[in-house]
Each structure stands twice: as structure tokens, then as C-alpha cells.
């Protein structure tokens, strides 16, 4: 007898989807707990960690922010292989403002977020008409180009970079700045994508001709999404600059492009929570594996392959399904 797996929504899911039915604590907790996990996990747990792990959590949050930005671009059908462009530009803008004019991080970070986002959008505007792999190739090439430009023209400190920038007053400020930004991006973008504005973005990635024939300027809409994604990436760069007290060519490094992508794929795309989860698995994992010395990359790669093969939908989608649905085997004649 053949058997088939059947998935059925839990009763509590159907009940709590209807706002009028929220009468019991069970249903309220059902909705609240998944949303509280990232908030409590980030804000309450980090201060309890050792300083070494706190630093790792900070850099993980930077990658998480880049991964969330990657996911936002994907939701409008823009595949980015160059998150380091956003990171690098944000880092150089904040670094230059601090190095040449002595602005405090209080001003450099917001300005770098807006200006960096705008600069990246302008740089990518000519290729916004390209779709899929063509757009991706340009995003891959741009940071490499800018890297060589800095090296060849020796502007902005050249290969030395801009050093001795103002640091954050203490570790806790840094922790809370980046983690509040991660939470704001996570919940803000989730809300945005559930609105009608986000629906248009999904429509563009699904079928842009159809959106065009509905009288909507597809390029303008894409440019807005690109600006939001780039601004978040630039924020990460500006933050990283003040954290390391240094802005330089490593800002355009491939790490900042590959890690967010891997985090989004491992965690599950299209949810923003997935990329966050992915970053918080992959970055600490790579730290733990340091004990293995030279074999680190081998095991890291192995883990990546296992994740992708075992849970191709992404860890977050898998957890979400388990949370909302139960499964049973039914026989098929």
C-alpha cells in the first residue's frame, strides 16, 4: 500500500489568523512567541555573553543586516552578488566624513546610510533594466572596480585606508545600535512586504510586463526598493567602519557579498527572518570551526552543502511549516 504525507494546518493557526478570535492566552502566545524570539534573543542574550562572543555577535549582526538587504532586493526580483558594494560605500562615506571633517558617529552613520544608499542606487540605475543574471553580474563587478579605483588613484587613503576613526563609546552601545537596526529592518521590511507596496514588488519579480501594463512605473519602483536595500547595506558599512576604527579596501571584500547570500539561502529567502537565522548559524559556526585550523574551510563547506541538500527550502521555512502544520501519513489506493 502506498503512503503519502499529508499536511494540515493546526487549528490554533486558523483561529489566531482571525483577529476577532484572539480570546485565549494560548492563541496570543501562538502569535507572540515567534516574534519575541528574535527580540529577546538579540537584546537580552548578548549582554550575558563573554566579550569575545559579543564581538562575534556584533559582526554576525552586520552580516545579518546585509543578508536582510539581500532578501529585500530579491523580493523585487533583483539578485545581488555585490552586497559589498553597499558595505564598502557606506564604510567610505562614514569614514571620510569622520576622517576629513571630524563628524561624530552620531551624524556620520545616518548620513552614510542615506548618501550611501543614494550613491549605490545611482551607480546601479543604468542596469536596473537588466533582469536576473545580468543585473547580478554588474553588482559583482562594481565593488571590484571601485576597489581597483581606490588602489590606482590613491584617493581616500589608497591602500592604507582611513585609520584612527572615532570608535563607539563602549561595547554595549555598539551592540545595541546594530541589534536595534537588525530588528528594525526585520520587522519593518516584513511589514512593508505585506503591504500593497510590497505586493507590487512581488508582482515585478513575478511578471514585470504585467505590472507595466497596470500603469505602474516598474523602474521607479525597483529604484525605490534598491535604495532601501542599499541604505541598509550602507548602514552596516558605516557601523562597521566605526567599530573597526578603519575604512578601507577590505570594505569591498567578497566576504560581504558571499556570506549574506549564503545566509539567505541557508535560512530561507523571502521572509527576512530566514536570512537573519542563516547569518546567526553560519557566522558563529565559522568561528567555532577555527579550532580545526586549516581544515576549517573544508568542514564549513561541508556544513553548507548539508544544509542546502537537507533543507533546500531553508531552515526558517522548515521551522515555520512545523509550527503551523502537522503531518500524518495517509494511505493512497
Amino acid at each position: 500500500m502506498e503512503k503519502r504525507k499529508e499536511r494540515i494546518d493546526r487549528g490554533i493557526k486558523a483561529r489566531s489568523e482571525d483577529i476577532f478570535a484572539l480570546t485565549s492566552y494560548r492563541e496570543m502566545l501562538y502569535l507572540l512567541v515567534p516574534r519575541a524570539v528574535p527580540v529577546v534573543g538579540l537584546l537580552a542574550v548578548t549582554p550575558l555573553l563573554s566579550p569575545y562572543w559579543q564581538e562575534i555577535f556584533i559582526s554576525t549582526s552586520v552580516y545579518a543586516l546585509l543578508a536582510i538587504s539581500w532578501d529585500l532586493l530579491l523580493s523585487a526580483g533583483l539578485i545581488s552578488l555585490g552586497q559589498s558594494l553597499f558595505y564598502g560605500i557606506g564604510s567610505y562615506v562614514a569614514g571620510a566624513l569622520n576622517y576629513y571633517w571630524g563628524w561624530s558617529p552620531l551624524f556620520t552613520i545616518p548620513v552614510a546610510t542615506i548618501v550611501g544608499g543614494g550613491l549605490c542606487t545611482l551607480l546601479l540605475l543604468p542596469v536596473l533594466r537588466l533582469r536576473g543574471i545580468y543585473f547580478a553580474m554588474v553588482t559583482l563587478v562594481l565593488p571590484i572596480m571601485l576597489l581597483r579605483l581606490v588602489e590606482a588613484t590613491r584617493i581616500l587613503g589608497g591602500t592604507e585606508g582611513l585609520t584612527g576613526l572615532t570608535p563607539f563609546p563602549n561595547q554595549f552601545t555598539a551592540i545595541y545600535v546594530i541589534q536595534l537596526a537588525v530588528l528594525a529592518a526585520l520587522f519593518g521590511f516584513r511589514r512593508l512586504m505585506n503591504s500593497d507596496y510590497g505586493l507590487i514588488a512581488k508582482g515585478i519579480s513575478d511578471n514585470d510586463l504585467s505590472v507595466m501594463s497596470a500603469g505602474i512605473n516598474v523602474y521607479w519602483h525597483k529604484a525605490q526598493i534598491l535604495f532601501l536595500g542599499a541604505a541598509v547595506g550602507s548602514f552596516a558599512g558605516a557601523f562597521g567602519t566605526h567599530l573597526d576604527m578603519f575604512a578601507g579596501m577590505p570594505g569591498f571584500a567578497l566576504d560581504y557579498s558571499i556570506m549574506p547570500l549564503a545566509a539567505a539561502v541557508v535560512g530561507g529567502t523571502g521572509t527576512f527572518a530566514g536570512p537573519l537565522l542563516g547569518a546567526f548559524i553560519l557566522v558563529p559556526l565559522s568561528e567555532i570551526l577555527r579550532a580545526l585550523g586549516a581544515l576549517r574551510i573544508v568542514f564549513y563547506g561541508l556544513f553548507l552543502v548539508i544544509f542546502v541538500v537537507a533543507l533546500p527550502e531553508g531552515i526558517f521555512h522548515y521551522c515555520q511549516r512545523k509550527y503551523h502544520q502537522f503531518e500524518r501519513w495517509v494511505s493512497v489506493k
Binding site: D196, Y197, L199, I200, K202, G203, D206, N207, L209, S210, V211, M212, S213, A214, G215, I216, N217, V218
Partner: protein
Amino acid sequence: MSESRPMLEVTGLSKSFGGVMAVSDVHMQLKEGELLGVIGPNGSGKTTLVNLITGFSKPQSGKIVYKGKRITGWPPYRIVTLGIARTFQMVRPFYQLPAYKNLIVPLYSPRVKRLAGGRYGDRDAVALDLLEEVGFERDAYVSYKVASALPQGYLKRLELAKVMALRPDLIILDELFSGLSLAEVASIVPIIEKLRFQGKTIIMIEHRLKELFRIADRVMVLNYGEKIAEGAAEAVMESDAVKKAYLGSETD
């Protein structure tokens, strides 16, 4: 002024792909409230003509004037904003979205925002009303189904609802009836007649001649990108050029 001037005026429109003339030197005029049928054998340039009028491709020569504005070469979204909306021959829904969410996209457009005076209220409710207008059963689950789960008949209606959501003045229907059963066509025809009653101008591209001739005021025949006949349906089908295009000439 509006009495004498046509709503849409196309002069000397040409477009070629490689060496093939898809549309060559087409002239046409359309009065307000008229229903024009465009027919012709496969590959005669009907869809290309629609793409040119709606801005999805750029003509090599000729001009298109709509309500006194020269719209040649404008991007599609600006043309929609003026009030020209089209359906696609191959339906283009957003397959992952529920049927009624498909209508949120046109309802979000600047044109609808302007017509609604800046505020729209609940777009979902408007979308469900529109779906009912094109024959989605009210209070049935079908409006909430994802588009990929809908049968062809409903997808065509959805396409029509997407156009109606834009509240256009000129509607271009590209083979709306293709792939539908007689019964389904019979259920869509009243919707089109209702649109005409509301004063909409319609261009219909169609292969289903019998159904088209019942509702069209005037018919235009294309062959190899050229207009070979125009006029009342019966007269046009009697002309030698049209017979030759459809049936082939004996000496050929």
C-alpha cells in the same frame, strides 16, 4: 471638437523585425464609444499593432495620437495613465498571488489613485467587487484561490478584471476568447456589452469571427502587416482580398 476628432488616430505606423515587416504603413481611426474588431490570419501583425499602440514596442515610423496627444514611443505605464489598457493574448497573472490580490496591482496605479481622488480605502473590497463583475462567484472560495490554481476561463476573466480595475477609456482585448469554450465566451460577451454601455471604446483582436461580428461595429483586416480591408463585418468578409488572405488564392 471632440465630436469631430477621432479618439485614437494612427498614421503610417510601421515596425519590422529583422527583414520582416510586422506592421507596415497602417492607418486607422477610432471614434469614442466604438468597438473595432481587428482580424487577420496568424502572424498578420495584430498583436504587434497592439504592442505599438500600448508602448510595449517602439514603431520605426508613423505616429499615434490619442485624445489629441502624440503618444508615439511613450513607455507603457504613461500610456496606461492616459487611459489605454490592454489584456495579453497569453494570460499574465501573478501566479503566486490569490486572484483578488492580482487586482491590487492595477488598483495601486497612479491613474486609479488620481481618479479616486487620492484615497482608495480598502483595495481588497474593491478587488472582490470587480471579480464579481467579471463572473467570479461572490462568497465562493474561487476569488481567494492562487491564480496558478484557476482554470483558463477564470484566468481570462481575471485578465479582463485587471483591465477594468484601471478604469480605462480605451480597452484593447488581445484574443480574449481564444482557448475558451462556447459557453464561456457566451458568458463573457455580456460583460463586454456592459463596458460598451458604460461608454468605453474597445479594440478587439479576435480569431473567433462569429462571436466578434455579433458585437463589433467595424472590422479591420490585417495581412502580412498591411491593412487590406475595413468596414462593416459582412462587407469586409465579401471582399476578394480578405477571402484570398484567409482561404488562399487558387492561382497561388
